[in-house]
């Protein structure tokens, strides 16, 4: 049993324990703790200035924490300089060496590791083959496109098999089409080579699409760590609900709780019933009902079923986005609610016009309560 627990301890590849970093009066990281397992695609997500890049720089060794410890496979790496840490970084602007050819760039980490010339040649060729750019050996980075630079940077960082790959918003410099393509490539790459990725981004869509687990950060703290589906469906705070995807926040009071069934009095709207609630709340406390736009039904006449809440209002604004149309519905108390209608039927796509009288409804398990 003791042995079993000891093994369990080791499986966390990277352990961040109470790490803090201050810049003069500014607290960039406030006692952050995280465990990242081997083989995970782990994302640090948050708005700019939340501390995610600071944390990544601490992991890489470009900066030193003011407190706490960072353990890699159980050993503290805090006192090791960057070159002695078995992890590599993909930089936002790729940081390819402009005075070296593609081959020399990829050979660099091998050369630093003292690998023989013959082996280097072989492994560089292999790495270029893996990123499907074997004909770019003699090119200089300036002659490559953004996507190609990206791939070379990845090839360079992976060529000597690090334990961990840190990626600092690597796709932010690419255009939307290419970004999506690179996202798919990153997912497949990570799956194939099985190296742990720690990925930093401010783009919640990217985080949801790529990650096994996501840590949402705000003002130097970790707000929630969870798998994408849980993070989207069950945010633990107004901040996470608002930051991940689009979300309607309906403020109110907890009126009554019985098991997983909660009655909430929404400000200006009245009672609604929330079923299968995962939130432990106390009657009388402030809360907010988070409602994703796609979970709201909108119709001229919704004819609600028994477990649905429904309200009437009028179309305040609408945004035609092609695949879906977003309707901003003004409820009777003036509250604006965002709802989606998929334009999946052929022919007519505009179901309502601005000013039309509409009804909205959602089932009792569509909303999720947050207290913070």
């Amino acid at each position: 049993m003791v042995l079993f627990y000891a093994v369990m301890e080791i499986t966390a590849l990277l352990e961040i324990v109470d790490v803090s970093r201050h810049f003069d009066d500014f607290v960039a990281l406030d006692k952050v703790s995280l465990r990242i397992e081997a083989g995970e695609f782990f994302t640090l997500l948050g708005p700019s200035g939340c501390g995610k890049t600071t944390l990544l720089r601490l992991l890489a060794g470009f900066d030193q924490p003011d407190g706490g410890d960072i353990l890699l496979e159980g050993k503290s790496i805090i006192s090791s300089p960057p070159e002695q840490r078995p992890l590599h970084t993909i930089f936002q602007n790729y940081a390819l060496f402009p005075h070296m050819t593609v081959a020399e760039n990829i050979a660099f980490p091998l050369r630093m590791a003292g690998i023989t010339k013959k082996d280097i040649q072989f492994r560089v060729a292999e790495a270029l083959e893996n990123v499907r750019l074997p004909d770019k050996v003699r090119h200089y980075p300036d002659a490559l496109s953004g996507g190609q630079k990206q791939r070379i940077a990845i090839a360079r960082a992976l060529v000597n098999r690090p334990r961990l790959l840190l990626l600092d918003e690597p796709l932010s410099a690419l255009d939307a089409k290419l970004r999506e393509q690179m996202q798919i490539e990153l997912i497949n790459l990570q799956k194939d080579i099985g190296i742990t990725f720690v990925y930093v981004t401010h783009d919640q869509g990217e985080a949801l699409a790529l990650s096994h687990r996501i840590a949402v950060m705000d003002q130097g703290r970790i707000v929630q760590v969870d798998v994408p589906e849980r993070l989207y469906g069950f945010p633990n705070s107004r901040f996470v609900a608002d930051f991940i995807g689009k979300c309607n926040l309906l403020e109110g009071y907890v009126h009554e709780q019985q098991g997983d069934s909660v009655t909430v009095e929404l400000d200006g709207l009245g009672m609604v019933h929330v079923c299968r609630s995962e939130t432990k709340c106390v009657a009388g406390s402030r809360c907010a009902l988070t409602l994703r736009p796609e979970k709201i039904r909108i119709a001229a006449n919704v004819s609600p079923t028994g477990d649905e809440s429904h309200f009437s209002g009028s179309v305040h604004d609408m945004l035609y986005l092609g695949d879906v149309t977003v309707y901003i519905v003004a409820l009777s108390n003036g509250l604006l609610l965002e709802a989606l209608l998929a334009n999946s039927s052929s022919g007519r796509t505009n179901f309502f016009e601005v000013g039309d009288f509409v009804e909205v409804a959602w089932s009792c398990d569509a909303g999720h309560l947050v207290l913070e």
Partner: protein
């Protein structure tokens, strides 16, 4: 509009004439087949030929080249280190310390260096001139290197360390190669500044350590001979070539970036 253009052209022409006419005259009269700089008589190479047989002139030229090479060399090493330090540490005092010799009046530098050399009982000669030249060249090299350094992506150094390079390997394999254009440009600037310098050299030179500018000055005291024109033309040509090369290497510093 046309009138404005015409005025612009005239004023520009006058300014450029004012700037370059003296230089053009020196070049033209260095090929003039007459001892006087008064009228054009005919084309000749003979003043250049005479230069080759003027032992004093050749010694001075040799001194100048030795001084310029050594001072530019030493100033380049020190200036590169200073420039790198300047771009990395945000201490204002460092900028001030490295760059103030550039802003100091030459005459002040000359006098103060002379005082120092006398105080430490140093014989004035090639060595004292070199030390003086190194002093005022460091700042120029540092400026050039700093400009290059600040245009460099700091992520490159981090990437090198991240990929396994020790600080020394990182300097040798990444920083230094990327700084080379700035270093070379600074070195060439230091070379031309040293070879052209008169005032500071005048104060720090001893007997028998005459440089080209000092030699020209002593000849001009008697008369501006065509020989002086010829040696000036050669000096001009050398400076021009070096400066052009330097500006090709590092356009940024000549654009004042």
């Amino acid at each position: 509009m046309r009138k404005k253009n015409l005025l612009l052209w005239i004023s520009a022409t006058l300014v450029y004439l004012f700037l370059y006419l003296p230089l053009v005259l020196v070049v033209v009269f260095s090929f003039n087949d007459s001892k006087l700089n008064a009228e054009w008589v005919g084309f000749t190479w003979k003043w250049y030929g005479k230069l080759l047989h003027n032992r004093e002139m050749l010694t001075a030229a040799m001194n100048s080249l030795i001084i310029a090479t050594v001072s530019a060399g030493v100033a380049t090493i020190l200036g590169t280190l200073a420039g790198m330090a300047m771009s990395q540490c945000r201490l204002r005092l460092l900028q001030f310390l490295v760059l103030s010799p550039i802003a100091m009046p030459d005459i002040l530098m000359g006098v103060s260096l002379l005082l120092l050399f006398i105080m430490v009982n140093m014989t004035l000669g090639l060595l004292s001139i070199m030390l003086a030249h190194i002093t005022f060249c460091i700042g120029f090299v540092a400026l050039s290197v700093q400009a290059r350094m600040s245009s460099m992506d700091p992520a490159l150094v981090e990437a090198a360390r991240d990929l396994g390079a020790s600080p020394w390997r990182c300097f040798r394999d990444i920083t230094l190669p990327l700084l080379i254009p700035g270093i070379l440009a600074g070195a060439l600037m230091a070379f031309t500044l040293s070879i052209d310098d008169f005032v500071i050299t005048f104060f720090t030179a001893g007997v028998g350590s005459s440089t080209l500018p000092l030699q020209i000055y002593s000849m001009v005291k008697i008369a501006v001979t065509p020989e002086v024109n010829a040696v000036s033309t050669l000096l001009m040509l050398l400076t021009l070539v070096v400066i052009t090369t330097a500006s090709r290497l590092s356009p940024a510093i000549f654009r004042g970036e």
